[in-house]
Amino acid sequence: MKPLLRLLPYLAKYKRTLFVGFLTVVGSNIFTVLPPLFIGEAIDLLKEGLEAKSIGGTDLVTYAVGIVVFFLIAGTFTFFTRQTLIVVSRHIEYDLRNDFLSHIQKLSLSFYQNTPTGDLMAHATNDISAVRNCLGPGIMYPTDTILAFTMVIAMMLRIDWELTLLAMIPLPFVSFAVYRLGKVVHKKFEERQKQYGEMTTRAQENLSGIRVVKAYVREEYETGLFRTMSFEYLKKNLVLARVQSIMWPLMFLLVGLSLVITIYFGGLKVIANELSVGGLTKFLIYLTMLIWPMIAFGWVINILQQGAASMDRLAKIFDTKPEVQDAEQTDHTITEIKGAIEFRNVSFTHKGAVRASLSDINLMVPKGATLAVIGYTGAGKSTFVNLIPRLYDATSGDVLIDGRNVKEIPLEVLRRNIGYVPQETFLFSDSLAENISYGTDNGTEEHVRDAAEISQIARDISDFPLGYATMLGERGITLSGGQKQRTSIARAVMRKPKILILDDALSAVDTYTEEEILKRLRRIMKDRTSIIISHRISTVKNADMIVVMDDGKIVERGTHDELVERGGVYAELHQKQLLEQELENL
């Protein structure tokens, strides 16, 4: 249960309401315990009346009305209990979910690369629900149970202490059974949840990759795989059912045992004139009043355990420290950047990787310059540019902007000045206009059009019947490859960034369109810094500086002409593209 302690700050926020709620629980309990007293009295009166043959309905009316009035009061209290305690649990769920999102918003790229989306979704939905679920009842029922218990037992003791003790014999077994079974149930429940998660993940993978599944005719295989997981889930459920099914019958049996004891020994006492029939009736009614709290107790233990397990999982996320964030060294006086970039002895190894992806990179890009990066697949180009907006922090060495370490620049300022086009396009299922103006606060329609024009997506958009209002499918599914990339470029350009990063962002664009885009970019990026990664010589040749990367290192650097002259890797690449042309010229 320890993880639940983390909820204390959340509870503290609502301590007033919770206190009121607690009082209403006490109130409703008092008024629920009293009516049986009336009933008992009424029965006694009835019995005497029957024997004396001198009873009128009016004598019992007081009791009848009393019962109803007390229930009315108890009910009013219960109403307020729900309106306070359960409502608070919804408020806490809200706070918790907000905090969850705001926390994971700070977590870095490597966290997301290593955590399945399905897991995070399960935390945000199931786990938070489970925590909430244990809050309302978790506060209400223990209070309820303890109060009801003490009051009922006090009442029972007043009627007959011997009988009370006898009737209580099975009760410790109830608690023990609840405790033991609860543990097993909890374990089986967790196993079942895990299997559910795996089954969901499988479905997610299958449906996200449905195009591959269909292209390679893997439907039957996938179905088989899913059947196995689904069947495993069924088995886990039945194991859980087997344990859970014992719970209620056992509970009823033990409580029933109390009833049997009471009837027998209570009956003997009545026969011996040590107890009135009314007393016995009251006693029986009190005893049945204990059934619910006992059951609730077992139930509460279960949901508290589930809540604790969920909170534990949430805590793991909450305790994950963002790898990249503002720290002491952050200089909050920096509000602008100019765009000069420098790498000093930078090395980087990905989390969980054995090999370094960047080793000892030294490089200077003056403000306003264009740097082009070309190199082999997996050479570390994306890793290299990802260090600039601090998607990762260098393992060793420093990345500097305007001569300041990027760690000193407030993250917000740093990123606000960067226009980043990731190698893999991600678009939101929103309108095209929304997607383009995604990174700006006050983008007008005109700005959107300008950005679309620069990235050459404007003409495609004008062909769509709904134009800029066209809604995109998930991840932009209804656009062609090049259209997606150009939308992503428009989104970056729209920010008028000091530093523009294009990570192989023209790979799905034809050379004609590419040239048109580059031409326009050159115009607007005149005083701004650009970094362009590409595999095409035609894209990089005009850059102020070209670096060639291989296996995490910069192996060549210079302008197009210099590099061709040098006759190294770049010249060879160039040669390979020329080869074809020379053949044509023959």
């Binding site: 229930f71 399945p116 479905a203 009956g267 003997l268 991600f426 050379t511 593209q577």
Partner: protein, 598 residues
């Protein structure tokens, strides 16, 4: 979203009939379950009887031994009841799980047979909900729901008959509050239903938002959108909270209300007992028993309103599931398919017209391909070039019959592909999709996609051919190295290589490379080309590329522009023609030309 708004009644005959269909294989189990439940209810209902006998007979006669017998009999009944209850609880769960399993598999298989048009329209998150969550909701109905509803009804009937046989006047008196209860429940249901609908909508919104923003978190961060996204989320989250709070209000009113009505019944019983006492038809035991009946009567009624929720959620879920199962967007196989075993690979498009979004009239339809005709001979390599969005990927989609053409026909070896079973057709085609997708799992299963007939050697051979072998061996675990969701820890080019290797491992007669090397460096690309040259001999291949060096070996180049075919010919012919291709070519090489001539 709109689907989440579906809010069925708690009982809908036609839905129920369909649901019952899934129970049919287990109908005898259900019958057994009901019998057992009735037994439990019966044993439950006789409980007050024991009290009555104990008080009215044994105690009144001061018969201690008789009392013991009654107590023991009571105990026996309790035991029996416990055992039956246990079996019944397990049995109902078993029925529920079995039924759900069948239904879930049906939904999954149904999804596998949907066409891509379906996936264009339906967000994946929603489909996952259908497969897992919605079926799960039904489980509650199938297991506890149906059997419990019956058992509750039987309990009520049982108690009622006992009450009437014991004392019909008292029975009528205690039931006189029922109209009040029914009216209250009626009001409650109406309100609770609205509140429930609102909650459902907000939950769906939360899920959609979360899913999208978790997968796109990097974009959010780089574009400083955290605050805005957070604000948007807070709004949805608050709407969800408020909807719930609204529904709490109704429940807070309802449950004490039911208890109060129960208390009124108790008051009435006591009052009437007094009135009737003088006529002498009532005994104390009867009154006590009635008070207990009253309690027992009220529990199933409370339960039933709880069951009402289960039924309502179940009906809503089943309606969504059935709507999915009724979806017709599938491409159906011909009844008498043409056998498609020995394939040479000659491809022909004959006056093909195609649109993703079909309008009512020809003019409203957004034609993506207009009157496209071309021929690719068996064993030939054909290249498609053209501006982005010209329709190149669309052509490959049509060839694999992911979509059906609206006009014209597509022939392979002279056979219209509509006459071939889709699986047969696709078995002969391997396509490297423009949007690379890797499954989480390991490298080797991403190349052979779990196909046992493609052994490890073939997997490695394919990886070697595309030059992926080297980097794969450097990963911790080599071919067994873990691949994260969507291959998150690999470079984009590496992912593309794996997806390329996949196509080669399947050893197809027709190979389609849709921008298969767009993110791969020229050197590796040329190595691949040399390596697959031998492999491709005698096979047909379609290459789509913007980098013209990629397609230099193509025997035929097809130039597309805005959904139409503009030029077809060899490299030489097209250059001589001086059209679109020539322009593209010049753009890519003009500086080099300048340099050469300089």
């Amino acid at each position: 979203m709109h689907e989440e708004e579906i809010l069925g009644k708690a009982y809908d005959a036609s839905l129920m009939r369909r649901l019952l269909f899934y129970i049919r294989p287990y109908r005898w189990h259900v019958v057994l379950g009901i019998v057992l439940s009735v037994a439990v209810s019966g044993l439950e209902a006789v409980r007050p009887y024991f009290t009555k006998i104990a008080v009215d007979v044994n105690i009144a006669e001061k018969d201690g031994n008789g009392l013991l017998v009654t107590a023991l009999a009571f105990l026996g009944v309790l035991l029996l009841r416990g055992v039956i209850q246990y079996f019944n609880a397990y049995l109902t769960q078993w029925i529920g799980q079995k039924t759900i399993f069948d239904l879930r598999m049906q939904v999954f298989e149904h999804l596998q047979s949907r066409s891509l048009r379906f996936y264009d329209k339906n967000p994946i998150g929603r489909l996952i909900t259908r497969v897992t969550n919605d079926t799960e909701v039904l489980n509650e109905m199938f297991s506890s729901g149906i059997v419990m509803v019956f058992s509750d009804i039987f309990t009520i009937i049982g108690i009622l008959s006992l009450m009437f046989t014991m004392n019909w006047q008292l029975a009528l008196i205690s039931l006189s509050v029922l109209p009040l209860l029914f009216y209250g429940t009626f009001l409650f249901r109406k309100k609770a239903r609205e509140a429930y609908r609102e909650v459902r909508i907000q939950i769906a919104r939360i899920n959609t938002f979360m899913q999208e923003h978790i997968t796109g978190m990097m974009v959010d961060q780089v574009f400083n959108r955290e605050k805005k996204s957070f604000e948007k989320f807070t709004e949805i989250n608050a709407a969800h909270r408020n909807a719930n709070i609204k529904s709490i209000f109704y429940y807070a009113l309802f449950y004490p209300g039911v208890d109060l009505i129960g208390a009124i019944a108790v008051g009435l019983i006591i009052w009437y007992a007094g009135v009737d006492a003088l006529e002498g038809t009532i005994t104390v035991g009867t009154v006590i028993a009635f008070l207990q009946f009253n309690e027992m009567f009220w529990r199933p009624i409370r339960d039933l309103s709880e069951k009402y929720n289960i039924m309502q959620t179940a009906m809503a879920s089943s309606e969504r599931i059935f709507k999915l199962l009724d979806d017709k967007t599938a491409i159906v196989d011909p009844v008498h398919p043409v056998p498609f075993e020995q394939v040479k690979g000659a491809i022909e498009f004959k006056n093909v017209w195609f649109a993703y979004n079909v309008g009512l009239t020809d003019a409203e339809t957004e034609w993506i391909l207009r009157d496209v005709s071309f021929r690719i001979n068996a064993g030939e390599t054909a290249a498609f070039v053209g501006h982005t969005g010209a329709g190149k990927t669309t052509i490959t989609n049509l060839l694999c019959r992911f979509y059906d053409v609206q006009k014209g026909e597509i022939l392979i070896d002279g056979v219209n592909i509509k006459q071939i079973r889709q699986q047969e057709l696709r078995k002969h085609i391997a396509v490297v999709l423009q949007d690379v997708f890797l499954f989480s799992g390991d490298i080797s299963s991403n190349i052979n996609l779990g196909d046992g007939t493609i052994p490890r050697e073939a997997v490695e051979q394919a990886a070697r051919t595309v030059g992926a072998d080297e980097f794969i061996r450097q990963l911790p675990g080599g071919y067994d190295a873990e691949v994260k969701e969507r291959g998150a820890t690999l470079s984009v080019g590496q992912k593309q290589l794996i997806s390329f290797a996949r196509a080669l491992a399947y050893n197809p007669q027709i190979l389609i490379l849709d921008e298969a090397t767009s993110s791969i460096d020229t050197e590796t690309e040329q190595l691949i080309q040399q390596a697959i040259e031998k492999l491709l001999r005698g096979r047909t291949s379609i290459v789509i590329a913007h980098r013209l060096s990629t397609i230099q070996n193509a025997g035929k180049i097809i130039v597309m522009h805005k959904g139409e075919i503009r030029e077809i010919g060899t490299h030489q012919e097209l250059l001589a023609h001086g059209g679109i291709y020539f322009k593209l070519y010049q753009l890519q090489y003009k500086d080099q030309e300048v340099r050469l001539t300089a």
